[in-house]
């Protein structure tokens, strides 16, 4: 019925979207000045991706 609403996202796309949305939310909630918000969002996004990819690689030896 609502097949048009279904999203097929890869692992990387899902992680990127998740990290971006949460970083934006944290940036807006925790900082007041626009420049501080941008810095916080970029830094938070970078750490999200770094830790996400890092954990992915750490699990790689146990994938099978």
């Amino acid at each position: 019925m609502n097949a048009g609403m279904e999203f097929k996202l890869s692992h990387l796309q899902s992680m990127l979207l998740f990290a971006l949305l949460i970083s934006i939310a944290f940036g807006f909630l925790s900082r007041r000045r626009p420049i501080d918000r941008v810095k916080y969002i970029v830094w938070s996004l970078f750490l999200f991706l770094l830790i996400g990819v890092g954990i992915g690689w750490a699990m790689y030896p146990f994938s099978r």
Binding site: M1, N2, A3, M5, E6, F7, K8, L9, H11, S14, L17, F18, L21, I22, I24, A25, F28, L29
Partner: protein, 138 residues
């Protein structure tokens, strides 16, 4: 001694402020962003509405699990509480997901996390609005 008693007494305007702050917190929970909008924090209000809304739409679109109150175990109950954090958007998620959840694929699992995160994020935003309404630094 009399001075100490006067300091400890809660002034009526503080009590009123607490009540208003409570209702702002509840409004922020029911409709993401409404709490901040009532405080005229427009940037944060729009951010809450957009991020929570997108997470719910993506989560439901990826066929994540929208937990109901009739959970079988503690994890289902915790999931329901997290999903309920989105307020009225919880009903939207249920309405969007007419085909039901499909967690047999990674997409469905991601969708479940998106929905739970949307709820927890909205609760955080509602608490932030509550604290701001109380006069705390926000």
């Amino acid at each position: 001694m009399a001075e100490e008693t006067a300091v400890e007494a809660v002034p009526p305007q503080d009590s009123k402020r607490e009540t208003i702050a409570f209702f702002i917190g509840v409004a922020g929970w029911l409709v993401p962003g409404l709490g901040h909008a009532l405080l005229k924090m427009w940037g944060r209000a729009v951010m809450c509405l957009v991020t929570v809304g997108l997470l719910v739409i993506l989560g439901a679109g990826m066929r994540g699990n929208v937990f109901s109150s009739s959970g079988n175990d503690a994890f289902d109950t915790l999931g329901f509480l997290a999903d309920l954090g989105t307020g009225t958007f919880y009903l939207g998620a249920r309405a969007l997901e007419t085909n039901g959840a499909d967690v047999s694929h990674a997409g469905g699992d991601y969708g479940t996390r998106f929905l739970a995160t949307a709820g927890v994020l909205n609760l955080l935003a509602a608490l932030h609005a509550y604290e701001a309404a109380r006069g705390r630094k926000a």
